[in-house]
Structure formats: C-alpha cells, structure tokens
C-alpha cells in the first residue's frame, strides 16, 4: 500500500477526537460545541475507514456513511434549535441552557 501505515491514521483520529473533546468541554457557544461534535464524529469515521482498509472489508465504509447521515441530521436539528433560541433574543451560552422551556 502506498502512503502511511494504518497506525498513523489512528493517531490522527485520536488527535482529532481529543481536539473535539477539548472544544466541547471548553467553549461555551453552542455553535462551537456543535462544530467540535462534528470533529469527534469525523475522527470516528477516520478510524472506521482505516480499520475497514486494514481488514479489506467494506462494512466499515458503509458504517462511516451512515454515521455521516446521522451527523447531518444532528446538525440540522441542533442548528434549528440554536436559531430558534437566537430568535427569542436569549443569550447563546451552553451553561444557561438548563431547561428547554420558552
């Protein structure tokens, strides 16, 4: 196989997952938290695809595509919630979203 070893793909995946975790834990804006969640999901996708290549099996790639669809749905609903909150002129801060009551 051309290109780097599978190990390096996994290391990049771990790095992306840690960056996503850091973003979710540190940032307070719900937009940035959603973006960090996307980074974490994509690192899982990278691991799935590299393992799929390692085993020569297609199932991992199919699973990664399903994960992408779920991520897209999650972003649609999350961004809809953020826009709905912003339209009510509330403060966009994760720590203040204690209840989902108008």
């Amino acid at each position: 196989m051309q290109g780097p070893d599978v190990t390096w793909y996994l290391v990049v995946s771990a790095l992306l997952f840690s960056i996503g975790t850091l973003g979710v834990l540190l940032r307070r804006s719900p937009l940035i938290v959603l973006l960090s969640l996307e980074i974490m999901l994509n690192s899982a996708n990278l691991a799935l695809i590299s393992f799929s290549r390692l085993h020569g099996d297609h199932d991992g790639q199919i699973f990664a595509l399903a994960v992408m669809a779920v991520a897209a749905s999650e972003v649609v609903v999350g961004l809809g919630l953020i826009v709905a909150v912003a339209r009510r002129k509330l403060i966009l801060d994760v720590d203040r979203f204690r209840v989902l009551r108008g």
Binding site: M1, D5, V6, T7, L10, V11, A14, L15, F17, S18, I19, T21, L22, L25, L26, R27, R28, S29, L31, I32, L34, L35, E38, S52, R53, L54, H55, G56, D57, H58, D59, Q61, I62, L65, A66, M68, A69, V70, A71, A72, S73, E74, V75, V76, V77, L79, G80, L81, I82, V83, A84, A86, R87, R88, K89, I91, L92, D93, G102
Partner: protein, 120 residues
C-alpha cells in the same frame, strides 16, 4: 459525502453569518479549574489512545489485507449499499427525511414568537 459537504458545512456558514458577532460567546475564562480539567481530560484521552495503539496493537496493525484497485471506489460502495446493506440505506434515508422535517418545524415561527416580535 455530498450531503455532508453540501448540507452541514453550508448550514454552519449560514448560521454563523445569520447570528453574526452574537454567535461566539466570548471566552470568559471561567473558573480556572474547569479549563484545567478539560485540558487534562483531553490530554489523558489522547495519551491513552496513542499508548494503546502503540503497545497493544503494534503487531496486529502491520499485516494489511491485500485489496484490489476497485476497493472503496464509489461504484463498489454504491453496489454494496444496494445489495448487502439495503436496510441501512433505507434507514439512513428515513433519518434524513425526519431531520429535514424537524428542521423545517424548528425553523418556522411559533405564535409566541410572533407576539414577541409584535411587542418589540
């Protein structure tokens, strides 16, 4: 892939533009132990995964399967989606449909919001 690049990233750009400067709550620093704990947790996670990869899986990751050139090509993946993984394909389509409907419902104005706008 198309769904991802098209929908997700364009949606993010649109919402960031829509919310403008209000979107990013300034980083208030907060209690320092919170950010310290967050950095510690993320670093521990990274170190743990890398150590596990390095120590436990070193031999298993070297013997790679031999695959033909068509492995992972779009045509191949599409064929697998429509034969072996048809159920996953259909469930994915239903999930995307429900998400689209939910996005529209969340995006429409409710009566309470219209009253809020009328008062303002």
């Amino acid at each position: 892939m198309l769904v991802y690049a098209g929908a997700v990233m364009v949606m993010f750009l649109f919402v960031i533009a829509y919310l403008g400067g209000r979107a990013d709550t300034p980083f208030e620093g907060g209690p320092s132990w919170v950010s310290f704990g967050a950095v510690l947790a993320a670093t521990a996670l990274l170190v743990e995964i890398v150590v596990v990869i390095g120590l436990k899986a070193g031999d298993l990751l070297t013997d790679e399967a031999e695959v033909e050139a068509a492995f992972g090509s779009p045509g191949e993946i599409g064929r697998f989606f429509l034969t072996d993984h048809l159920l996953a394909f259909e469930i994915t389509s239903i999930v995307l449909l429900i998400a689209a409907v939910g996005g529209v419902i969340l995006g429409t104005k409710t009566r309470a919001e219209e009253e809020l706008d009328a008062r303002a």
